[in-house]
C-alpha cells in the first residue's frame, strides 16, 4: 500500500446556487494513476480542479470542506496558489500550447518560478521535460518553431512537457486524449505509464478502456457524488454498487 498523497474530506463545490459536488471523500495514492470516470457533468473535472485551485478562476465558484496534500490544506484562503500550482500541474482536454515557440512554451513555467537562471540550465530543463514527455526526438531540431505548428498529439505531449517543466509532484489530466486520434492516444497512455514512476497522476476520462489500461485506482462519479472508489480491477470486474455496474457495462451515461 503506497502513501496517500491527496486526501479530500467532505468536499462540496457550488457554482452559484447549483451544487456540483456533494461530500466527496477521496484519497489519491502517491506515484499511482487514479482514474475518475462517470457521465458528463458528474463533477469529475470539478473535483480535479479543486486540487490545483483552478476553480478560483471562476467567480461564482465556492468550495467548502477539506482537501489536503501531504497534510497541507489546499483549500486554505492564505495558501499561496502560485506555489501550489508549481507542485500540482495540469493537462487539459484540448491541447493548448501558447502562441510561442516550442522552447518558450516549456521554459515559460520555470522562468515564472525563477528556475533555470542561466541559459544552459534552462536548456537542460527544456530538454529533460521534452525527453520525459517523449517528444524530444521529434522536435529537438525545431525548438524555435511555434508550438501550434505541431500535430494534435504532439501538442498534447508538449502540454504535458510544459506541466512537468516546473517539476510538480502531482499531474492532473482532464480528458487528455479526448481530442486525439487512437495512435496519439496510445502514445499518451504509454507516457502516463512512464510518468507514474515519478508523479502522482489523476486522470479524468470518458473511455472506460483507457481507465482500465492506465490506472491502478478508479473513482466513479455520478451527479456530483462519488459513488464508488477502489482498485481499478475490482471496479471493472466486480463493483459493489449497482450503478457502477450499469455504467461500466454501458447501460447509461
Amino acid at each position: 500500500m503506497s502513501n496517500i498523497k491527496i486526501k479530500s474530506k467532505n468536499l462540496n463545490v457550488y457554482y452559484g446556487d447549483k451544487q456540483a459536488l456533494f461530500d466527496v471523500n477521496l484519497d489519491l495514492n502517491e506515484k499511482e494513476v487514479t482514474a475518475l470516470i462517470g457521465p458528463s457533468g458528474c463533477g469529475k473535472s470539478t473535483f480535479i480542479r479543486c486540487i490545483n485551485r483552478m476553480n478560483d478562476v471562476i467567480d461564482i465558484c465556492k468550495v467548502t470542506g477539506n482537501i489536503e496534500m501531504d497534510g497541507m490544506n489546499i483549500n486554505d484562503k492564505d495558501l499561496d496558489v502560485v506555489s501550489l500550482r508549481e507542485r500540482v500541474g495540469m493537462v487539459f482536454q484540448k491541447p493548448n500550447p501558447f502562441p510561442k515557440s516550442i522552447y518558450d512554451n516549456i521554459s515559460y513555467g520555470p522562468k515564472i518560478h525563477g528556475k533555470g537562471e542561466t541559459k544552459s540550465e534552462l536548456d537542460q530543463i527544456v530538454e529533460n521535460s521534452l525527453k520525459k514527455s517523449a517528444l524530444w526526438e521529434e522536435v529537438k531540431d525545431r525548438l524555435d518553431e511555434p508550438g501550434t505548428s505541431l500535430s494534435g498529439g504532439q501538442q498534447q505531449r508538449l502540454c504535458i512537457a510544459r506541466a512537468i517543466s516546473v517539476n510538480p509532484e502531482v499531474i492532473l489530466m482532464d480528458e487528455p486524449c479526448s481530442a486525439l486520434d487512437p495512435i496519439a492516444t496510445a502514445k499518451i497512455e504509454e507516457l502516463i505509464d512512464e510518468l507514474k514512476k515519478t508523479y502522482t497522476i489523476v486522470i479524468v476520462t470518458h473511455s472506460m478502456a483507457q481507465a482500465v489500461r492506465v490506472s491502478q485506482k478508479t473513482g466513479f462519479f455520478h451527479l456530483g457524488k462519488l459513488i464508488e472508489v477502489g482498485k481499478t480491477e475490482k471496479i471493472f470486474k466486480n463493483p459493489d454498487n449497482k450503478m457502477t455496474q450499469d455504467y461500466i457495462t454501458g447501460r447509461f451515461g
Partner: protein
C-alpha cells in the same frame, strides 16, 4: 408631376397585391388545383411587374427629358435668329427661356426669347402628356402580361426570387459605382493639378503656400509664374504635421485605450463592464466638432497659460492640444477593439498559464497579449488611419500655418485642414490652388487605404489562428 405618378403607381401596386392574392386563392379553390407558390407570392409578383417597369421608365425619361428639350429649344432659338458663339452662351439663352416660362425672368424680353419661351411651354406640355400616357400604357401592358401568367399558375415564387436578387444586385452596384466615382473624380482633378505642378515638386517640396497660386488659370500660366508656383505646393510640411499630430494622438490613445481594453476584458466584473463599456463608447459618439471646440477653447488656452507660467512660448493653437484631444477621441476605438480581440483569446490559453502557476498579470503579459497582438496592432492601425483622416479637431485646434516643426507647442497643420482651407469660400476651379485639394485628398486616400489594408490583414490573420 413625377411625385403624383410615383404615388399612383404605388397605390396601384398595393391594390394589385391584394387582388393577386385573393384571385389566385379563388382559382385554386374553384379549379381545385395546387398552386405553384403561396398566394402572397402572386401578390408580390403583380406588385413587382406593375411597379418596376413603370418606375424604370420614369427614371430614364426624367434623365433624358431635360437634355432633349434643351437641344430642341436651342435649335428653335437659333432658327428664330438668336446668336450665340459657344456652348456657354447657348446655355445662358436656354436658362433665360426657362426663366421666362417660369415667370422669374426680369430682363428685357425680345421677340426671339418670347417665341422660344412659347415653344418651350409647348414642348414641356407635350413631353409631360406623353410621359403620362406612356407610363400608363406600360403599366397596363405589364399588368395584363403578369395577370395572364398568374392565371396559368406560373412559378411566381422563383420569379419573385429572381427579381429580388436583381434589386439587391443593383443596390450593391450603386454603392460600388459611387465609390469608384469618388476615386475617379479625385484622380482626374489630381491629374490636372500634376500637369501644372511636377509630382516630385509636390511630393518632396518643403514649402506649402498655395495662396500664391490664387486665381490663376492653369492653362494660361507663363514660364515665370510656373517657376514661382514650383515651390508653393510642397507636401512635406503637411505630411509632417499630420504624422506629428497623429503621433501625439497615438501616444495618448494607445496606452490608455489598450490598458482600459485589458481591464475591461480581464479584470472588470460583469457589472462594472456593463456600466463602463457604454460610457467609454459614448466618447466615440461625441461629434468631432465638439472635441474641436473643447480643444480650441479650453485645452489650447490652458496649455498656453501653463506654458507662460513655466516661461515657455506656447502658441494658443498647438499641435499638442490638437493631438491630445484627438487621442482622447480615439481611445474608445482602441479600447473596444482591443477588448474584443483580448476576449476572443481562448480561455484554454489562460488556464494553461494559470496551471503552471502564473499570476493574472503574468498571464496577460506573456500569454494573452502576445496571442492577441496581431489584432491589437490591427486596431491601432485603424485608429491611426482615423487620426490621419480627422479634420475638425485640427482645423479648430492646430492652426493653419504650414510649419515644418517638431515642437509640439507651435502651431502646425495637416492635410485635411489644408483641404478645408482651400475649398471654403469662392473658388476658381481651374486654379492649381483648388486642384491641389484634390491631389491632397488623393494622397490622403491612398495613405489611409494602405493603412486599412495592413490593419485588415493583421486582424484577419489573427482570426484565422483562433477560429
Amino acid at each position: 408631376m413625377n411625385i403624383v405618378l410615383i404615388f399612383l403607381i404605388t397605390i396601384f401596386s398595393v391594390s394589385l397585391f391584394f387582388y393577386g392574392k385573393s384571385k389566385t386563392k379563388t382559382i385554386s379553390i374553384k379549379d381545385n388545383i395546387k398552386l405553384n407558390a403561396l398566394p402572397k407570392f402572386y401578390g408580390y409578383y403583380l406588385v413587382l411587374w406593375c411597379s418596376i417597369p413603370a418606375l424604370v421608365f420614369l427614371l430614364v425619361w426624367s434623365l433624358f427629358e431635360p437634355v432633349i428639350i434643351k437641344s430642341i429649344i436651342i435649335e428653335t432659338a437659333a432658327n428664330q435668329g438668336a446668336i450665340f458663339s459657344d456652348k456657354n452662351e447657348a446655355n445662358l439663352i436656354y436658362e433665360k427661356i426657362k426663366a421666362i416660362h417660369l415667370g422669374t425672368y426680369f430682363g428685357d424680353i425680345d421677340s426671339i426669347l418670347r417665341e422660344s419661351a412659347l415653344a418651350y411651354a409647348k414642348f414641356i406640355n407635350l413631353f409631360t402628356n406623353s410621359k403620362v400616357v406612356l407610363i400608363f400604357g406600360i403599366i397596363i401592358a405589364s399588368v395584363i402580361y403578369s395577370l395572364k401568367k398568374i392565371k396559368n399558375n406560373n412559378k411566381a415564387r422563383d420569379d419573385v426570387e429572381v427579381i429580388l436578387k436583381g434589386l439587391l444586385f443593383v443596390s450593391s452596384l450603386i454603392a460600388i459605382l459611387t465609390t469608384l466615382g469618388i476615386i475617379f473624380s479625385l484622380l482626374f482633378e489630381s491629374i490636372k493639378f500634376f500637369s501644372v505642378i511636377n509630382i516630385f515638386d509636390y511630393l518632396f517640396g518643403t514649402n506649402w503656400s498655395p495662396q500664391r497660386a490664387f486665381v490663376r488659370d492653369a492653362s494660361s500660366i507663363t514660364a515665370a509664374e510656373f517657376e514661382e508656383l514650383k515651390d508653393a505646393f510642397g507636401f512635406i510640411p503637411l505630411i509632417a504635421g499630420t504624422s506629428f499630430i497623429a503621433f501625439i494622438a497615438m501616444l495618448v490613445a494607445v496606452p490608455i485605450g489598450l490598458f482600459s481594453g485589458i481591464y475591461m476584458a480581464e479584470y472588470a466584473s460583469i457589472k462594472v463592464r456593463r456600466i463602463s463599456k457604454p460610457i467609454i463608447e459614448i466618447l466615440a459618439g461625441i461629434p468631432t466638432v465638439v472635441y474641436g471646440f473643447f480643444a480650441a477653447l479650453t485645452v489650447g488656452p490652458f496649455f498656453r497659460q501653463v506654458g507662460e507660467n513655466l516661461g515657455l512660448t506656447v502658441s494658443s493653437e498647438s499641435a499638442l492640444a490638437a493631438g491630445l484631444i484627438m487621442g482622447i477621441m480615439i481611445i474608445p476605438y482602441v479600447s473596444s477593439l482591443s477588448d474584443d480581440v483580448i476576449n476572443s483569446v481562448p480561455q484554454s490559453l489562460r488556464d494553461g498559464s494559470y496551471a503552471v502557476g502564473a499570476t493574472k498579470s503574468e498571464t496577460i503579459k506573456q500569454v494573452v497579449i502576445p496571442a492577441a497582438l496581431p489584432g491589437i496592432i490591427g486596431s491601432v492601425l485603424l485608429a491611426v488611419s482615423r487620426a490621419i483622416g480627422e479634420t475638425m479637431i485640427v482645423v479648430m485646434a492646430a492652426g493653419l500655418a504650414a510649419n515644418l516643426t517638431i515642437n509640439p507647442l507651435e502651431s502646425t497643420t495637416t492635410i485635411t485642414t489644408q483641404i478645408v482651407m482651400i475649398l471654403v469660400g469662392d473658388q476658381e476651379f481651374d486654379s492649381p490652388k483648388t486642384q491641389s485639394a484634390f491631389a491632397l485628398g488623393l494622397t490622403l486616400f491612398i495613405a489611409t487605404l494602405i493603412l486599412n489594408y495592413i490593419a485588415q490583414r493583421a486582424v484577419k490573420k489573427y482570426r484565422e489562428k483562433y477560429d
